[in-house]
Symmetry: C2
Subunit: 394 residues, 2 copies
Amino acid sequence: MSYHFATRTAGLRSSAIRDLLKVTEMSDMLSLAGGLPTPDSFPLADLRREADRLLSEYGPRVVQYSATDGVVELRQWIADQYTSEFARPVAVEGEIIVTHGSQQALDLLAKVLIDPGDVVVSESPAYLGAVQALELFQPRFEVIPGDEHGMQVELLAERLAAGLRPRMVYVVPNFHNPSGATMSLARRRHLADLADQHDLLIVEDDPYGAIRFAGEPLPPIASFTDRVVYLSTFSKIVAPGFRVGWMIGPPEVMSWVARAKQAADLHTSSFAQFLLANVVQQPGWLDAQKARIVPMYRDRCVALADALEAALGDRISFHRPDGGMFLWTRFTDIPDTTALLQHALREGVAFVPGNAFTIDQVPDSKARFSYSTLSPAQLGAAVQRLARAVDAAS
Amino acid sequence: MSYHFATRTAGLRSSAIRDLLKVTEMSDMLSLAGGLPTPDSFPLADLRREADRLLSEYGPRVVQYSATDGVVELRQWIADQYTSEFARPVAVEGEIIVTHGSQQALDLLAKVLIDPGDVVVSESPAYLGAVQALELFQPRFEVIPGDEHGMQVELLAERLAAGLRPRMVYVVPNFHNPSGATMSLARRRHLADLADQHDLLIVEDDPYGAIRFAGEPLPPIASFTDRVVYLSTFSKIVAPGFRVGWMIGPPEVMSWVARAKQAADLHTSSFAQFLLANVVQQPGWLDAQKARIVPMYRDRCVALADALEAALGDRISFHRPDGGMFLWTRFTDIPDTTALLQHALREGVAFVPGNAFTIDQVPDSKARFSYSTLSPAQLGAAVQRLARAVDAAS
């Protein structure tokens, strides 16, 4: 009565975060673990009005099968957005594919790019969801450390000079998950130059770019070279439950991705695409939405950072991010945050230990705290619980 | 400036059908090619009312991240449906995963089951979407011919006795795409027995089961053995554009599938799941919907079959299906229907040549005609055009 599974299932680790989310559904738990957008940010009234309009005025095509690369109304909006951001024309046909979240983009790219043993360059710490999606296709990860200015591109340059030939270089340049770091302009240019010199393909994953509450916006790496597949999503700026993201890349790559997308699920939900296109196409809507929600994340970030400094002083260190949803920290007197987590759960607060964001998962003194879900008052209460856990653990 | 692609892209064929769909978007083309459900079948008023209710009464959770295996309200409805159909309790937890259409279920199963070179048993002719999804993972297809009573299970029994050890046996037992055949009760029982004897895993793909307009419903193979992953979808009975399907299978298999689903796209659209659950949970809704739409397909099937017999007589042969969306035909004096298609397109009518549904794609005398999209009057006009094409081709 046994079943046989593919060897690639060895690369299928469960997400520590999603496993933790099940624990944190317990009543009275205050969770700093998940990266759920604050529910206050969802434009429910706009969605309601546009859903009604679609189903009463647009007719059956909004719930019919649609094109593999995406509904043209949405691709047109995406093309317009990035023609401005990339400072070059982005075509509606051939360069854009709408995906079930940017998570799916990683799965599709891995399918068409990675043979077992191929090298994928990733930052450390790394976005766990990307590691999960890629690991299934059995790459060899070449890890380049990051600092508060993003991936240390100069280290990548050394390894390329020494002969490294990666199939993909994966980066999250804005408000990295988990590190919160934003890649500097100099490193963006350097990475683009390396891509051109060494025929690299950069995957620029940018889910958080619109959630900037400090500093000046930086141009995407895709504005400096064509050798980029750029990923983004409606998950943080509208709502994640629709699972609608997009990828923009070289037509030669995207034609393979389109075939993989067709095999994977035919196309992204037609209704969700029409609905989101109608919401974001309203004149001035995106700017107004950012003006409404960015301060929510700024206030929560300040509340969490202030509370951690007040409660833990020099027992914890971190850089305050310029945007996004995560505070990445190091405990000065706790060498293993997986042990701290057990104390924290007993006190009624959850976070994600740093080793969850590494390839080898060796316990360390780091921790990721998300400020995106709880209110400022709840964040303060969560830190009080955390401080008791730190006392118990040390 | 070149890019390198994974060796598995060699298995990424584009769908002849979807390529053809682009041609058939030309005005005045009458398409018997695609399998789009008739737009008249979509319950737009119900969807509109429930969308409004969700976005006004349910709050932000309907557009928030949700569980990888699916929204519990929808899994509960699925469990209730199949506890009756499978004549055994189906659990809400552990056995069910909601997918982005049943196409995605095939992708996830291939990921967790198939190493390059593993044997997959498939019928001939075969559902092209399944071949596409599986081929990417480089199986060796072992093809078992079908007849008007489905896969010839007795031939599979012989090959198993001779030592064949497939990783997966893929069947579409109700109103097969493209053959229209329904697997007999005896063959269903025989296949279930073989699964138990040889530790096989059967993938029972049932997108069309609810569209039965002749004959008596037969129990699913999953009611005879636990060694089945059963797939179905809302695409034909509600609407395809939401991309919501489901899979039900052994917990040991489904726990791996859940990890693959998490890596692929985190979860299926929350909003689509809540919306469809609310529509189908209305007391008596599903029976009323079937009563409304099944006659639409019956009338279209009769219209197409009658018109073909009247126009082409003994130049074409086919069995009338008991349900579904497809008429599978053989031309008695046209050996290559890919050549016929060129004449047909010039006359303004499209269909899918039979070789599109084979692994080796050698041209043959078969053709699939879909009656799901056009009205009975349009079907008659399409057959007139086809008859002119047949005259020109022979």
